[in-house]
């Protein structure tokens, strides 16, 4: 295994395609976190993230030879596979609805209120909920580019789309996320106001 430590991912995949167990073990340890966190942020479920990670690496065992280094990096390829498995799961759960349904996601007019400190625990939980409520096509790109800090070109490879599409989805995804956070905050403030009013009355 020590001999493989400095071997690039692409070479590990070639070895995996030839049935090398050590190469697979090393590739798994090197890259499973990318896949797991991507699936976790997309689904919000550690159990599902585990299942998707397993599905992805089973697929790698089967199809390692299909990796094309000219088209994407290994992390982007793995996230692309994970994305397909996540989409399948969400699609089967929703069955009747489109997972890219945008009809209910029209952008509201810009409200210039500051978002404030989103790093506070309570605000962070609200941000997590808002992210999970984004349409999947925006959630994917926000998770890849903003949470996992994947370069746009790599994200485009993972999502099978143009770099320009990544940029536009990211812009819209962030705008939707901002609107959702502000809306959630307003709901919370209204609820607090009502509680206070009842208490005074």
């Amino acid at each position: 295994m020590a001999d493989l430590d400095n071997v690039p991912d692409e070479t590990l995949l070639q070895l995996v395609a030839a049935g090398d167990r050590n190469a697979m073990s090393l590739l798994f340890r090197r890259r499973q976190q990318n896949v797991y966190r991507f699936a976790l942020h997309l689904t919000g479920s550690p159990t599902t993230a585990d299942d998707v990670t397993q599905d992805v690496f089973m697929a790698v065992i089967r199809d390692a030879a299909r990796f094309d280094a000219g088209r994407s990096t290994v992390p982007a390829w793995l996230c692309g596979i994970a994305r397909n498995f996540v989409r399948r799961r969400i699609q089967s759960e929703r069955d009747m609805d489109s997972i890219d349904d945008e009809t209910a996601e029209t952008l509201p007019a810009v409200v210039p209120d500051p978002l404030g400190d989103l790093t506070q625990a309570e605000q962070l939980e609200g941000l997590r909920r808002a992210l999970l409520s984004l349409p999947l096509r925006y959630r994917e790109v926000v998770v890849l580019c903003d949470l996992q800090e994947m370069p746009y070109a790599e994200a485009a490879g993972a999502l099978s789309c143009a770099v320009g599409t990544v940029r536009s989805r990211l812009h819209r995804g962030r705008a939707l996320l901002t609107a959702k956070v502000l809306a959630e905050r307003k709901r919370q403030q209204d609820a607090r106001g009502q509680r206070t009013t009842r208490y005074i009355a």
Binding site: Y36, M58, A59, V110, L124, D146, L147, T178
Partner: protein, 158 residues
């Protein structure tokens, strides 16, 4: 979205990413993956190709596709987490091929009919019950990149 909002959002997303920075798949996932690899070690990776001629001359060009299909169906055995029993395939409806998971999203597709040897199917996790013929007709859902994404088996009446 104002510039300040964007900065706040990015800061929040960085903090959100930080909450999962140390998280990883559970040990059972690695065990399952390595067990699968171990189970397959010693198994020939090359799968027999479909050599049965098709009825339509145009389909001759699709023989590589059919071979890819056989390989993909074979993958069903590999992806199963427990020892699978052969599935009885119902004629209606397409079944996603395991290999499709690593391919780009399907944007458009054509349905292509091919002939596959029945004898080859059970070994790859798919069986069609009580058939006397040597060859079954199947339809492939072939995506824009020429790669098959799904299959359905068809009867003579289809």
């Amino acid at each position: 979205m104002t510039g300040q909002q964007e900065r706040d959002l990015k800061e929040g997303l960085r903090a959100l990413a930080g909450t999962t920075r140390e998280m990883h798949a559970s040990r059972r996932v690695e065990d399952a993956v390595l067990a699968e690899l171990g189970r397959l070690s010693g198994t020939a990776h090359g799968l027999p190709q479909t050599t049965r001629a098709t009825r339509k001359p145009a389909l001759v060009r699709l023989l590589p596709l059919a071979a890819a299909l056989v390989a993909a169906v074979g993958g069903a055995l590999w992806t199963a987490r427990s020892t699978p029993s052969p599935k009885i395939v119902h004629p209606a409806g397409f079944i996603a091929l395991p290999a499709a998971a690593v391919l780009p999203e399907m944007e458009s597709a054509n349905i292509v009919r091919v002939s596959l040897p029945v004898a080859a199917l059970p070994a790859y996790g798919v069986a069609i019950g009580d058939l006397k013929q040597d060859v079954v007709e199947a339809e492939l859902l072939v995506a824009q990149d020429g790669q098959a994404r799904a299959i359905r088996f068809v009867s003579d009446s289809d």
